[in-house]
């Protein structure tokens, strides 16, 4: 179990954030770790697998006495239902717009505030930090009514922007708290070093702090993204007056009603299709992160 230097990490800058990776470990150990990792993935993934095969199952499996682990026959009916649904794409577009907006806004706003509390001591700093924590303790369901009133008076119910703004309230505090922990780990000497090298203050900021916070930005970005993507309660209430839907609202159209049974197959298929962009995006970003890390983000 020896650590080896596996990446030509940042020759110029100080190597602060290389991984704890132990690629030089004995093959036997790698085997054991891999088995454990796959076991973990199997347990975590089982419910997802179950959901996935439900979308392909025909009634043969559904009416079988015992659950079947592999469909006896595949059916794409559920997916056909989804693709035939005229509301699928418009709802997805709305979801994308709201999510993009709230993530970008949330990260910018949250990042600025996080740098402020991580790098500065200022009057009201403690109050600000505690407030950011308390805000996350407020049960959403208890304030949804007044929230609607505020948005309605501002003429923003029924608009995507209103929903976007409401989401900021739930993502910004989280971003501030989490990013702060990433930023404090960047030695203040680094910004100074960069400035000595001739960077301006803002140049130092963008060249040093921003890249080094990238893993944190990704983590909080993904978190905010998923929160916004999967949010139902706020969107359902705030969009009620405009007739617009997000994907989550659209998914409830496959639930049980007083006059028909739920179409679970289509609901699951719809949920998977709606989730897919999120997953694909993260996989892309994940590559970017590791690439950025090994190449050495500090070039100044």
């Amino acid at each position: 179990m020896t650590t080896t230097v596996d990446a030509p990490a940042a020759a110029a800058g100080p190597k602060v954030r290389a991984k704890v990776r132990t690629t030089g470990q004995r093959p036997v150990m790698t085997w054991i770790w891999n088995t454990l990792g796959l076991g973990f993935a199997a347990v975590m993934g089982f419910p997802i697998y179950w959901m996935l095969i439900t979308t392909f199952k025909t009634n043969k499996d559904l009416i079988a006495k015992d659950p079947t682990f592999w469909p006896q026959a595949f059916s794409f009916d559920s997916y056909k239902t989804i693709f035939d649904d005229k509301e699928f794409l418009p709802a997805l577009q709305n979801t994308i717009a709201i999510t993009l907006g709230s993530v970008v806004l949330g990260l910018v706003v949250g990042f600025l505030a996080a740098v402020a509390v991580a790098r500065f001591g200022f009057r009201g700093r403690n109050f600000f930090i505690v407030t950011m924590l308390v805000v996350q303790m407020v049960p959403l369901l208890a304030i949804i009514g007044p929230l609607f009133v505020v948005m309605n008076n501002a003429g923003m119910t029924g608009t995507l922007f209103g929903v976007m703004l409401a989401y900021l309230v739930f993502t910004v505090p989280y971003v501030v708290w989490t990013l702060r922990s990433f930023i404090v780990n960047i030695p203040a000497e680094l910004d100074e070093a960069a400035m000595v090298d001739g960077c301006t203050q803002w140049g130092a900021f963008f060249r040093v702090i921003l890249p080094l916070t990238l893993p944190g930005l990704i983590t909080t970005g993904v978190y905010s993204w998923i929160q916004a993507w999967n949010e139902f309660i706020v969107a359902n209430v705030l969009l009620s007056t405009g007739g617009q839907k997000t994907s989550m609202i659209w998914l409830t159209f496959y639930a049980t009603t007083p006059t028909r049974g739920a179409d679970y197959g289509s609901q699951m298929a719809g949920a998977l299709l709606v989730s897919l962009p999120v997953i694909v995006l993260f996989v892309i970003f994940q590559k970017k992160v590791s690439a950025g890390l090994t190449a050495g983000a500090v070039k100044g």
Partner: protein
């Protein structure tokens, strides 16, 4: 960026304004008039997706007729039941409520008390069949004393006995049971004939299906004042009435004797379970028959083997009273064009539209149920149930989902072996605390 800042500033200003102003409307609601002056106007209508997937043609026809008569356009906004109460709570408070909304008949009382709907009492007589509305459904749209009408019945639903003809016949039950005693005999025979089938339920009665359990209580107690009765002032409980408890025991005995599993679940999964083949009968909505035999989620092989009858009661011709669920339509007091909303209601619930709707669901009036029954053989049972005696929850603005949860849990506890009288006593206390504020 500028737009964002402007918007944020707008919110901040409004905050101050809204914190100071309070809505001035008081308890007495607006009287409705029927307006036909809709040229160049557009009304918004909230309908449940039941109509979107079940009877879109009815909605289209109503839209067309409304446009012809008033010149106004209709914007239908499809809704779902998930979290609908929160949506209504907020939308009915705001200044831009839709002209017409659909809501469940168990949700109406609290909005009626709050004056959220316009008073339709004066114009109701101009609505076709308004004197023949299904009783329980009509009552849900009125004040507790029945003097004022705020919501118009839209469609109804009732639960019936859905059973396997083939299994009953194989067990030697030739004719469908007409009384509870006959039902018990029949179930005993079916149970004996299928003794070798693992996990077999002759009649599957999930514990938390409180509507069915309380129906048996209504069978012995009577259909009026189920759960609680009001003297105009104060509610007193009827769940612990010996007659009601007696009926619940009938349900509980059937369950112990003929139902396997399901004590901690409700009725949501019963169709899928019945499709697996080891359930001979369930109590469910009319459409569940189609669900059990659905080619995608059920067993289409059962299509010709299923039948439904109104749930037998103490005597022949007197089925166990069904809970009459359904939907109402109302005109929010804060809508921009309440007069046009009322006119749309009039058109959407007229004989023509309702006769067409009768192909898909139980229509709102007794004289139209015949059309529903004629539409499909399977409709006879639900039609019978809706025409027969039906019961409803207490017509109180304090009634809420919390009470239904408490009742579901209480009947679940009875199904799990709890003493009926003791469990009912507990839940009665809980519910009364809510009803009496």
């Amino acid at each position: 960026m500028n737009r964002k800042i402007a918007a944020v500033a707008a919110i901040a200003t409004v905050l101050v304004a809204s914190a100071c102003s309070s809505s001035g409307s008081s308890g007495d609601a607006k009287q409705a008039t029927l307006s036909k002056d809709g040229k160049g106007k557009k009304i918004t209508v909230w309908l449940m997706d039941d109509a979107q997937k079940g009877w879109p043609s009815v909605v289209e026809a109503a839209k067309k007729q409304f446009k012809e008569e008033t010149g106004a356009d209709v914007d239908i906004q499809w809704q779902t039941w998930t979290n609908y109460t929160t949506k209504l709570d907020t939308a009915l408070l705001s200044g831009n409520a839709p002209e017409v909304i659909e809501l469940g008949n168990t949700q109406t009382a609290k909005y009626i008390e709050a004056g959220s709907f316009v008073d339709l009492t004066g114009v109701k007589s101009q609505f076709e069949n308004s004197d023949k509305y299904l009783d329980s459904l009509a009552a849900s749209g009125q004040t507790a004393d029945g003097s004022k009408t705020y919501a118009i019945p839209y469609y109804a639903g009732a639960r019936v006995l859905i059973y396997r003809k083939d299994l009953f016949a194989a067990a030697g039950v030739a004719n469908p049971p007409t009384t509870l005693a006959e039902l018990k005999d029949a179930l005993a025979k079916v149970k004996a004939a299928n003794a070798s089938t693992p996990n077999f339920s002759a009649l599957y009665l999930p514990g938390q299906n409180w509507y069915t359990a309380a129906s048996f209580g209504a069978g012995t107690f009577g259909v009026k004042n189920i759960v609680a009765k009001s003297d105009g002032d104060k509610w007193t409980g009827t769940l612990t009435d010996p007659k009601f408890v007696e009926g619940v025991k009938v349900w509980n005995d059937l369950q112990k004797e003929f139902s396997v599993g399901g004590t901690t679940t409700d009725e949501a999964t019963q169709d899928a379970l019945m499709a697996k083949g080891n359930i001979a009968a369930i109590v469910g909505n009319g459409w569940e028959l189609g669900q059990v035999a659905d080619p995608k989620v059920g067993d289409p092989g059962l299509k010709d083997k299923l039948a439904s009858i109104a749930l037998p009661g103490a005597a022949a011709g007197q089925p166990t009273p069904a809970f009459l669920g359904g939907s109402d339509l109302a005109v929010p007091a804060k809508s921009a064009n309440p007069g046009l909303g009322a006119t749309f209601l009039q058109i959407f619930t007229n004989t023509k539209q309702q006769t067409e709707l009768a192909k898909f669901a139980i229509p709102n009036a007794k004289n139209l149920v015949a059309a529903y029954k004629a539409a499909a053989p399977a409709n006879k049972a639900t039609g019978d149930a809706a025409e027969g005696q039906t019961w409803f929850i207490p017509n109180s603005p304090m009634w809420s989902g919390a009470d239904e949860t408490a009742l579901k849990n209480a009947f679940g506890a009875i199904a799990a072996g709890g003493d009926p009288a003791a469990e009912l006593k507990k839940v009665e206390e809980t519910v009364l605390k809510d009803l009496n504020g």
